[in-house]
Symmetry: C2
Subunit: 206 residues, 2 copies
């Protein structure tokens, strides 16, 4: 079967739309990293991406929206990678594995990681994209905690969602303090992330 | 005894220096709140404070330094207030009392609290002022935890400094998410700060 002319036309339009979106995200990323998030304007992004301002607004209503799009892509991928091969081990080892991969991804991409860590808590009106990423990570953490309960590492009556919340909050503060410190890696931090999480998981021993 | 002319002169110079410092901090605060931290320049601060730029630089080398000065004053006072009348009660009640007062101070002064929460992790070269505030709060938290150990609410072998670190990290994330949310008060957040801290203390107690 040969595709009709209309389908070919549609595919071309779809491809052009996707290419423009990619150009816009790439341009925004480049400017956020070189000039800083605050100093970058949407006009500059449109210019560097070589699209009209209307096209930019079709894809993203603001630089905040662009930042959230990047966050969804980058951190979404990082979460997939982090949880793809979780070792059959104690919860503390699973957590240091998962968060270790996410920290390494931050390290590889430290300029953008710093912007995410600093800006995203204060972004308004674009929370759906952030919430979607957070829902994914909490669902995956919940599953690890449920596994630890099954193995009787944790008491069965402990609130899974609340424990996942706390473990992520501790990871987040650790990451934020590292990214804010200007140090290139999180390895020398005291206390270490493992010590921090172990302190919270002491209940595992009961 | 009458003070000598030289002493009078010195007092006057001292007073003028202090007054200028206060004017500078007040002007910086006003501009940070009205224009935002990033959009404010040190020239504008000097102009609004009615001092020469050299005078401003004598008191603070950068806007970051001014922000840290404000943090030391405001949060320093808030910590004093929060820990001044800690109830004779269980650790969880003491913590919700202390952090409750600090959250209320943030609420009263929400514009500045948002700037502190967003900027201070990323301030460089002015960390001594931040570290001094953090040392005060950790010393006071350590004392509460030591009291809970004495009352046998917590096992004696638990690492006091590490537990204080975690409890503060959980408070900080709670505060950051509230301040980032745009909501005027932290009262409706789910999970509540009390639930979050209880979850950690449950684990620490077992």
């Amino acid at each position: 079967m040969r595709p009709s002319a209309a389908v070919v036309e549609l595919n071309r339009a779809e491809r052009s739309k996707r290419e423009k979106r990619e150009r816009i995200v790439r341009a925004a990323r480049q400017l956020f990293l070189s000039k800083g998030f605050h100093a970058t304007t949407t006009s500059e992004i449109a210019e560097l991406a070589d699209v009209a301002k209307g096209t930019l607004f079709f894809h993203a209503k603001s630089k905040e929206a662009l930042l959230v799009m990047m966050f969804q892509e980058e951190v979404g991928r990082s979460i997939e990678r982090a949880f793809s091969k979780v070792p059959k081990a104690a919860l503390i080892d699973q957590l240091t594995h998962v968060f270790g991969i996410m920290l390494k991804d931050n390290q590889r991409n430290i300029g953008l990681a710093r912007i995410f860590a600093k800006e995203l808590a204060f972004v308004h009106g674009e929370n759906r994209g952030i919430d979607a990423v957070m829902a994914t990570i909490f669902e995956k953490l919940d599953r690890l905690i449920a596994g630890a309960k099954e193995r009787e590492e944790l008491p069965a009556d402990i609130d899974t969602a609340l424990l996942a919340h706390n473990l992520f909050a501790l990871y987040f503060t650790f990451m934020l303090r590292w990214l804010g410190s200007g140090e290139p890696t999180p390895h020398r931090r005291d206390p270490s992330l493992r010590q921090i999480l172990e302190m919270h998981l002491r209940c595992a021993a009961s």
